[in-house]
Amino acid sequence: MKRLIVIFFVIISSDMIAVDEGWDLAARHQFNEARDVFVDKTRNGKDIRRDQLSEAAILINLQPRTPANLDRADQLLTTLAETTDDVGISALYLSGRIDQSHRIPYRIAEAKTHYTQLASLDSEYPLAQAGIVQLALLELYDESLPVADRFSAAESLQSKLTGNFARSDYHLVLARSYLFFQAGDDHALTHFLAAIKQGITTDRIRADALISAGELARDLGQSTAERQCYEQFISENPRDPRKPTVQSRLEALR
């Protein structure tokens, strides 16, 4: 019996090592090598749904890129997305990404359908939340609609963001788009401040957001927000070339 338990754990752990080895290779952009690892693993066939998800995720970047690989990935993902567990949500999200970015020509309507489906799940799983942000972005740059309608559609998605993953990204997409379309500096500032409050994990993106918010607050005469943004920027970015300019802005506020 003991021997059987040991064998069981050896098989399980070797399987886990193979999964991580495959993903590690993928993270290093060695997609073809990762595929070989996953193909070997799939032969053991212990968690067929996860194996199929990894196969699809690798297929979309396998070299050389071919429409046949995308079709095969799509096929796998469609089946996986029938169940709404984390694998199913990941599959639905990836289907959206294939239509949004991998297919030539892009299939934006199909991508929107996938992301809308994700939004309707009310799931806090990271990729369900990420799908909502992608949907907001597609709404904002949908050239067939008037700009005001695009912003209404994107703003309405905020209530769907129930988890923390990607919430600050949602606000940044909105803020930067208000600036790009010159559709309202006050709206842009509101979203920048919301993103900062939520917590932006990437240093560079946070630094830019603090500057943008500070500059907008300055233009709009909101000195408290301006001061807070600049002070946070200086404390977090002591070596940034924008520091002396920001410092002079702060001195002018005193």
């Binding site: 999964v19 993903w23 924008r242």
Partner: protein
């Protein structure tokens, strides 16, 4: 017919002696090789052929060996012109040196596959900084750039892959004897107005002495840097009017987007001003300088055929060795806020930013001694080693809290309290090519900034569109790859949620740029 032996018969006794010496040498080198095989050998390669640098690195390597018995450091210097192919061959062959200079690899894919990310280590203090002002400071915060500059930090990968060993700074070198003979003073021009005065003084000197003297020696690369600086200085105020994303330092694609929106044009007084200043400075250089190499310019400067040379801190050591006249270092003579013609365009000498880092080294993934290689990089960039390197090579350290011992080097010191810079109109390969292939128009007889702009505006617009299409293509490609990598972070046996969040933030931020570029390019004819 008689054949005469090339060896005189009396020298045949030399043969066994030569064979004997050769065998001794063979045994000696084999023995040495075996000794080396026992030691950990760290090989590092770079292209810094500038005088003094090889010796400077060598000195540090020997000192490191003393501190770490059993470790050997071997330096390989490969000329810049063959570096790319050499490096590719070594990387593809799976046998690169342990440490390689970064800067000639533009593809993130090559970086991620071949180099060790250093971000985690950068958060820890450098153990070689114990007993210095930088003790207990995170390694990344011991550098001028905070390890944020290009070639060091790779935004799409969100990782630090290199650490810089020195900084570079542009300047003008003057022949001290000639400067004094011409101006009666040893003080070099501090700005554009001073330079115009000097130019008149040179004319007077030529008339007085009958001597043909070129004011400044220039070369193609340095001409590129000069025009870039002219734009960066004279568009400082204009920048604030086109900064739609409100980030203070506009990334190049945003500069191009602003142009397509009509927020700035080549007819703007600031752009014409920058071209006028470049023309004025370029007319003081030898004819055809935009097509000449650095060596051509150095030669005429050291031969005293020119008063000065436009170059940078990297040449200071060479000129110190080769010039038999006193060397004076001055800043680029560009307009300052007091300039009567261009002062109202500028806020003053800008912060030199995160650029100009050099000698950036990364560790290759195939290194058999990664820990030791990392340890050597920590030593190389420590306060003590950086100070030693800066002193022996007369270069600027990339590490903080080191005062240059050479007074002349203070001129090179980075501007750290300046305002943000403006923008360069060469935003990518095509617009840069447009600028450099058309610059000759400024130096033709009768050439003016206005003619230059009138004749090339259409081509400029096309070059910007081409550059934006390149950015678009690259961003799409990066984001496609990121899809798989986000999946990797979330579906490993242990989920890397923070990494996935960071990757997604980067991806959606690029996706936003893609959408904005597509929106702008959709308005342009194919």
């Amino acid at each position: 017919m008689s054949t005469k032996s090339p060896w005189p018969r009396r020298l045949t006794w030399l043969v066994p002696i030569i064979v004997y010496i050769a065998s001794l040498l063979f045994v000696f080198f084999k023995f040495q090789e075996k000794q080396d095989q026992k030691a950990i050998v760290i090989r590092f390669a770079h292209w810094n052929l500038h005088e003094g640098l090889r010796e400077g690195y060598d000195e540090l390597a020997r000192h490191y060996e003393e501190l770490n018995p059993g470790v050997k450091i071997k330096q390989t210097v490969v000329p810049k012109r063959v570096w790319y192919s050499w490096q590719q061959t070594r990387l593809v062959g799976g046998d690169p040196p342990d440490i390689i200079q970064l800067g000639r690899i533009t593809e993130d894919e090559v970086i991620v596959q071949n180099f060790v990310p250093l971000s985690e280590f950068a958060k820890e203090p450098n153990p070689y900084n114990v007993d210095s002002q930088l003790e207990d400071v995170a390694w990344r915060d011991t550098f001028f750039d905070g390890l944020n500059s290009i070639r060091v930090y790779y935004p799409a990968l969100q990782e630090i892959y290199g650490v810089p060993s020195m900084m570079m700074s542009l300047c003008v070198f003057y022949n001290g004897d000639l400067l004094k003979a011409i101006t009666g003073s040893s003080k070099p021009p501090q700005n554009y107005r001073d330079y115009l005065v000097l130019r008149d003084q040179i004319d007077a000197y030529r008339e007085r002495t009958g001597r043909t003297l070129i004011p400044i020696a220039g070369a193609s690369d340095y001409g590129t840097y000069l025009i870039g600086n002219c734009f960066q200085i004279l568009t400082q105020k204009r920048r604030s009017q086109i900064d739609l994303p409100r980030v203070l330092t506009l990334p190049p694609p945003q500069v191009a987007l602003a142009y397509l929106r009509g927020d700035w044009s080549l007819q703007d007084a600031e752009i014409q001003g920058a071209l006028n200043v470049f023309q004025s400075l370029g007319r003081g250089m030898q004819p055809g300088f935009l097509h000449l190499k650095r060596e051509d310019a150095s030669l005429i400067f050291t031969q005293q055929k020119t008063l000065a040379m436009l170059s940078g801190s990297w040449d200071y050591f060479l000129f110190g060795q080769e010039c038999n006249f006193p060397l004076i270092v001055g800043p680029l003579p560009l307009p300052d806020p007091a300039d009567p013609d261009y002062g109202h365009f500028t806020n003053g000498k800008p912060h030199e930013g995160e650029g100009n880092m050099n000698g950036v080294f990364g560790i290759t993934k195939s290194s058999r001694h990664r820990e030791q290689a990392l340890d050597f990089l920590r030593y190389l960039t420590s306060h003590t080693a950086s100070a030693r390197f800066a002193t022996s090579t007369h270069t600027l350290p990339a590490t903080l809290e080191i005062e240059p011992t050479d007074q002349n080097l203070r001129v090179f010191a980075r501007v750290e309290d300046g305002p943000v810079h403006g923008f360069n109109i060469g935003v990518g390969a095509e617009s840069h090519r447009w600028l450099m292939t058309n610059s000759y128009r400024l130096f033709q007889p009768g050439g003016t900034a206005q003619n230059f702009v009138d004749d090339t505006t259409d081509a400029f617009r096309q070059s910007l569109i081409s550059d934006l299409r390149t950015v678009l293509k690259d961003q799409i490609k990066t984001n496609q790859r990121t899809d798989t990598i986000v999946m990797a972070a979330l579906h490993r046996t242990t989920t890397q949620l923070d990494r996935a969040a960071g990757l997604f933030s980067g991806q959606i931020s690029r996706e936003l740029e893609i959408a904005q570029l597509q929106h702008a390019l959709a308005q342009e004819p194919d």
